[in-house]
Every structure is written in C-alpha cells, then in structure tokens.
Symmetry: C2
Subunit: 469 residues, 2 copies
C-alpha cells in the first residue's frame, strides 16, 4: 500500500531539492484531453537528472507514488492518477534542452521535456529532420513520446518512436541513473533496456533524456488524395505503391465519407475540394532530392487507374496544395472531438484482415444502435482509429449506455482478427482491463515479474499498464 505525498513528506523532500522545485499542481497537470479523469497530487518540476534521482529515492523510501507528466497529451490517462493516495506529479517541463545536434552522425541529444516541434526545429536548423510527426506535436514532449512509444503519420517509412531512439538516460525507482545515451547504431552489450523503458509508460523508470536518430532533410515529395472503391482496393494500391517505390511511401492514410461529413457538419469554414467519396486515401511519397516526385506519383496514379484501384483523385502540385490535403486529414480528429464520440478505439489488425474487420465491425455496431462509425488513420500500418458516434443531431451522452457494449464489440473483433486493442496510444489507465482480458497470460506474468523486480514498492505510475498491487 502506498502512502500519500503529504506535507511531512513534501517538506522533507523540499529540503533536499533546489528552491521552487516543488509546488502545487496547475490545472493542466490534473486534466487530460478527453476529460475522463481529474488528477491529484503535488507537483515536482526538477531542473536536472540528479534532482529526479533525489525525488525517486525519497519516494521509494517513503513508498509514495510518482506519476510522470510530460506534454499531457496522452489519450489513455497514463498521466493522471484520479484516486488512491496522492502522488508526486513529476513534470519534466523544466528539462527541455536540446543538448546537442550532430548532423555528421545524424544524432541529437535532447532532454525529456523538449517539445516535439522544438526538436523538429533544432533538427531542421542543422539541415536534418526528426520524422516523428503527430497531431499533438506542439505540446507533446520527448519523454512522454518515448514512454508511450508514439506513432503518428510517418510510421510506415520511419517507424515508431522506439525506432527513432538510439538510447535513453533514465532514473529507476530507487534513484539509480541509467546512463544510456548513445550515439551508436550497433551495441550488443546486454539486455536492451532502452526498448524495455520505451513503451512502459513510466511504470519502470523515468526517461530524462534521449539520443534521437536524425534523417536527411526532406527530399522531393508528392502528395495525393485518391478516391478508392473500398478498403481492400486501398490495400492493393498500397502494395503497388510499395512495389514501384520501395521504402519511399512515407504516409498512407485512409479516410471515410463519415469523416468528411463530420467536417462539413462542424467545421463549415473548411470547404471540401470534392464531394466526399465513401473511401479515400492520402498518400505521400518522398524521393531523393533530385528525383521527380510528381512524375512518380503520376505514374503510380496511372497504374492504379488502369487497374481500377482509383476512380478519382488530385495530386498536390505545390507546398500550399499539399498543406491543404494534410489539413483535411488533420481536421478529422478535430471534427470527431466536436461531434463527441460514444467510444473511441485505437486498434490495429493484420493488413489482410483489415477489409474484413471493417465490414464485420460495421455490421456489429449497426446492430447495437443507430450509430455512426468514423474509421480513419494509418492504413499503411494496419492501424485504424475506429471511433463510434451518435446519429446526426444526437449527443454522445444519449448513447453513453452503449459505450461498454461498443467497446467490447470492437475489441473482441480486433482480438479475434489477431489485432491489438492499443496500436499507438498505449494502455495508460483506460485499457488496464483490456490488457488483462486480451493479453497473453505468459506475457502478463513476465510483465508483472519485471515490474516487481524494477519497482518493488510499486511507486512508478501506480495503476497504469498493470493493476495496482
């Protein structure tokens, strides 16, 4: 059983830390984007890894919970402890330095509190690129992006957050510091703690800094919005694109008519460039700087057209036109929020199962009530955001009673298809029950054993990922 971060604990801890490290939490530390939980706890904002180590050592000695807080953009409640003994909320916002950029080695070293857009900017200033790209990039911080193994729009080509990280510095539950920052591409000396910490959502250690992989500045890019008859033809289009342009397809997003209808419904000032088709894909290719990306895209379009895979489309011929297409894609989550979902799901299934899943799940949801499904997202990765909404004119609240049934219907079908009930958002507190229900028993056994070994008092993000002991 944990103890609360009470006044006695905090004043003892304060005497060990530079003045101003501790203080009351602000509202932004206690709320989260979906408004499901309200947090609690005292705020610690350390300025150095040593101070993080002091906080952890004191928390472990006193058995006080520590909830790491990064950009606060997580969608599964990993950053919020709504009940139980009050924790220390450990925000790394003051450790936000880009320590060093090495374009010659395509590596940068950043502190965990660095905001993703500032990491992008630092890479660009050195003529390089950090290709992790997602909607919340103006707020999300590197520590949280790694702790949750964030995905985003360029996973198809560049991988998940873990694939973009060469090493981490991290503080363990007892305050020990793993000095794992590395500029090495190859290092087979012992267990890969980097990959264990990445995606563990702050339950095994606090990431305080990271070495990130950089890539050359963007080459020749072409972007297109193509109308496809079905998800199955979208996948055929993807296969042809990858065969023609191996390793050069950088985004492949699917969008449904429902998503565009939502935009029309709630974002009237965003005019659509077409009558919304049932299904469309946003495809982006990136070639070498001197290549003719427009010609490559036109060639792909012709091949797809001849094969009957696309029925219409537009190729963005310039930066602004490209931005407009992406703006459409990015307006979908915004429209979703304004409509208000009954239940949202971040799922992946094997590519070949995707069309069948979309059909089966659509029918199963329809059987539950007059609901609308907006399935969209990273088709190239087998990852859909499968969100379920009330009928037009109704409020989500009226269908709240269907939420659990909707969720279980979707997740059961995902599980039956060999999929994942959390493709890129993580487990947090929202999906602890799902992990217990769908997770492999031996995997869960091993996870609990590792958690107990590295955090024997259970102070690190208690209640996230695994049930509180």
């Amino acid at each position: 059983m944990l103890n609360p971060a009470d006044d006695a604990f905090l004043s003892r801890l304060a005497s060990d830390l530079p003045e101003g490290t501790l203080g009351p939490a602000e509202p932004r530390h206690l709320t989260e984007p979906r408004g499901r939980w309200i947090g609690q706890g005292a705020l610690a904002r350390p300025r150095s890894t040593e101070d993080v180590a002091r906080i952890m050592a004191a928390a472990q000695a006193a058995r006080v919970g520590v909830v790491p807080f990064s950009g606060g953009t997580g969608l599964v409640g990993g950053q919020i402890r709504p009940d139980g003994p009050a924790p220390v909320i450990l925000s790394l916002e003051r450790m936000a330095a880009v320590r060093r950029v090495r374009p010659d080695e395509n590596v940068m070293e950043v502190e965990a509190g660095a905001i993703l857009t500032s990491v992008h900017a630092a890479a660009e200033a050195a003529g390089r690129r950090f290709p992790l790209w997602l909607a919340s990039q103006g707020s999300a911080r590197i520590g949280g992006l790694l702790a949750t193994n964030a995905g985003g729009l360029h996973v198809l080509r560049y991988g998940m957050a873990r694939d973009l990280c060469l090493g981490v510095e991290a503080v363990l539950a007892d305050g020990r510091v793993i000095h794992g920052l590395s500029r090495l591409r190859k290092d087979n000396t012992g267990y890969d703690l980097r990959h264990l910490l990445i995606g563990s959502e702050g339950t095994l250690g606090i990431i305080t800094a990271a070495s990130l992989r950089l890539f050359p500045a963007e080459g020749a890019v072409a972007t297109a919005l193509l109308t496809v008859p079905s998800p199955a033809t979208a996948l055929e289009l993807l296969a042809r694109a990858e065969a023609r342009l191996p390793g050069q397809v950088s985004a492949f997003e699917i969008m449904s008519k429902v998503g565009f209808d939502f935009i029309t419904e709630v974002i009237p000032d965003l005019s659509l460039p077409f009558t919304p088709p049932e299904w469309s894909v946003l495809i982006e290719i990136e070639l070498a700087p001197d290549a003719d990306a427009d010609a490559a895209m036109a060639g792909l379009y012709m091949e797809a057209d001849e094969a009957g895979l696309v029925s219409d489309g537009q190729i963005a011929a310039s930066g602004p036109a490209r931005d407009r297409l992406w703006h459409l894609r990015e307006a979908i989550p915004d429209a979703n929020r304004r409509i208000g979902a009954v239940s949202s799901h971040d799922i992946s299934v094997p590519l070949a199962e995707l069309p069948g899943f979309i059909a089966t799940a659509g029918a199963a949801i329809a059987a539950l009530g007059p609901l609308r499904v907006n399935a969209f997202g990273h088709l190239g990765d087998g990852n859909l955001h499968y969100n379920v909404f009330p009928p037009k004119g109704a409020a989500a609240q009226e269908f709240r009673h269907l939420r659990d049934a909707v969720k279980q219907t979707v997740h059961d079908l995902v599980d039956a298809a060999g999929g994942s009930v959390s493709a890129e958002h993580g487990i947090g507190r929202l999906k602890v029950g799902d992990l217990a229900r769908y997770g492999d028993p031996a995997k869960l056994f091993a996870m609990r054993a590792i958690k107990a070994a590295l955090d024997p008092s259970g102070i690190l993000n208690p209640g996230a990922v695994l049930p509180e002991a």
Copy 2:
C-alpha cells in the same frame, strides 16, 4: 547452485517426451568456431514448442541448466558451457519449418531452427526478401540470430535482427509459453518483451518461433569498390552518398591494405583486381526497380572524385562483377582465420570518433609489439572488426602472452570514445568480464534484477551475459 543433467534427471525427462528427443551431443554441439571452449551436456532436440516447454519446466524443477544451441556459429561462446554442472543442450534444429509466408503483408512466420539461407529462399520464392545477410548464413539459425541480435552487411539500410522481427514465440524458464507471434506493425499493449528477449542470448527465455518482416525483391543495385585516402574521407563519402541517395545506401564496408595483403598471403588463388590501397570501401546502393543504379553510382563517383574523396575505383557493371567484389570482402574473415589472430574485437564507436580511434588504437597496438592490425567491416554502422595479428611469418601462439594487453588496450580506447565492446556479436561467455567492467552500473543492476525475476533458479544459459549466481 545448479544440478547436473545426470542419468536420473534425463530418464525422468525422457519419459515425458517423444522417443528420440534426448540423446548424446554430437561434436558440433560441443565445439565453436574459434576453438576456445569445449562444451559438455546432454542433447535435447525437441520437435515442438510444447516439448520445449516440458524440458524447461523439468529443468527448472530440478535446477538443471539449459544451454540453447542454434546454428553454433556464435563467436563469443554463448552456445557452449565448458564447465560447471552439465547442462541440457537444447538444439532447435528439428524445429526448422517456414510455417507461412504472407507476401501481401510482408511477413513470414518461421520456427527458430530455420537456417537463414532457407529463410532467404522462402522469401524469394514469394517474390520478397529477408535482408539479414551475414557470412554464416548457411549455418546460422533464426533463433540464434534473434537471441544474439545479429547484424551483418545490410544493417545500414535494414537494421539489426531486432528491427526485422515483428514478434516472437518464446518459452520462459518455468515452461510458460509467450505467444507473441504477430503480424502487426503497431502494438502498444504493454512492455516490449520481444525486444527484451532479442539480444538476451538465451538467458531470459527460449525463442521457438518468430514473425519476420519481409521487403520487396531487390531493386536496381550498383556496387563499387572505391579507393579512399583515409577513414575520415570514407566517412565523408558516406555522408555524400546518403545525401544524394537518402535511405538507399545498403552497404558501406571499409577494408584496409592489411586485409588484402592477408588474402594474397593465404588465399593465393584469389587474384586481386588492383594493387591494394591503404583504405578502400565497398559501397552498394539499391534503388527502385526501374531506376538507373549505375548512373546513380557514376554520379556519386564523379561528385566524390571532384571533392577529392576517392582516388580510384571500379563500379561493378554486372551480377558476376558484383559477386567478385563481395567475394573479396567476404574473403577477409577467411584470410583472418587462416592467419590466426592474437585477439579479435567487434567494436563500435560513434562515427565522428572513428578516424581518431583507428589512429590512436593503431599507435597503441604498435607500442605493444610488432603486431599487424586488420580493421575492416561495417563502417556505415560505426562497427569495425578490429583484429590484431602476429607479424608476417610468425604464429599467433608466439604472441598469445600479449592477448590480454591487446584486448584491454583496444577496449579501453573504445570505451573512452563512447563506444561498445560488442557491436554485433554479443556478450556470450567471452565478454562477461568486459560487460562488468565497461557496463553502466545501473544498467547492470537492472539486468540482474530482470534475470532474477524471469529465471529465479538461474537455469537459462548459465554463465552467459551475466556471471553465474
């Protein structure tokens, strides 16, 4: 303290297993490529994951060590237990099936005993490619390649073995089976046990099967052998190649005059196509199938020539010419073996430190005696095979007394440069002391905690990676 796999244990175990599963070890199970150790133990050759689980459960109950044996090609003794209570040698050679190839999803599922060349062949038969490529591929098996996170010739473009694996099926110390085979590109449900098991060298679990990533069949390839003035210019050439052809440089190997001299010395029937230069690089690029790779390589050569980065070179214009260049590269380890090394090192350092390391280490080795250094390998990854040999005409045996001093000199300089004393070969039994000496203390603490949690009796590959408890 472990118990030996004695007759009583083995006859009990045999009664639980299909006939013929247990038997005496053959010489190939008891020797290793560098001839440093002689193994011992009883051989188990299970035909199914269930049988592996039975063996593990029995071994844990009896506290008998289990040494997983894969292709037997490891260079650090991970597959050999030379002393202590006799273990079960667990060979997966009878579980060698390619269970399924799914070209539509670019995934294949293979059993751990599948030999790498048979995996290559199965991928090619489906019009795809599995790009893990290394000298021992005719013997190395997938289980060992993953357990050691093998590297090889295409890491620059395709990553290490871990980057090519979507999931594993594995048996834990107590016989539980993690069913982690996955066709998913994105799955953020809990700790990444795949990456923990990969590279753990059989000390945390037995990998019994894997889902592997496939890639399109080879596109347009060009290969060149270029003479460079120095390692520093080789790195400049690499940077220019990656700027011109982002993501399309698939190999970048450095070779020294010493390596070519060795070939002349001991492989006289392999005639060199030039007077060996002090340094040369073998560069391979791979473009889309319809691209003109020869023209791209010629353009790179011209740019490099104008910049003074190359002084000579040959571009392979055909398949056989390309094979001849690779044959030269692959002859170097063979020549090394025939000469006989005083000490061999598989090291990586940050790219920018490489030229300095080569100069400093060369001087330090020269100060120890009249030794010859053959530094060669995967320069693009910062990974050198830095091998030290006796002077011409002398035998390694005569310089055996310098082995420890040579090794410590090289490894101390690697460590000082922020490098790794095992870039791709792993720790095995050879480098347990090096890991203890150079490893981060908090990392070692966490590794011991994880080992104790997942293998409390210490039966999994005892003495490998971490000292025997």
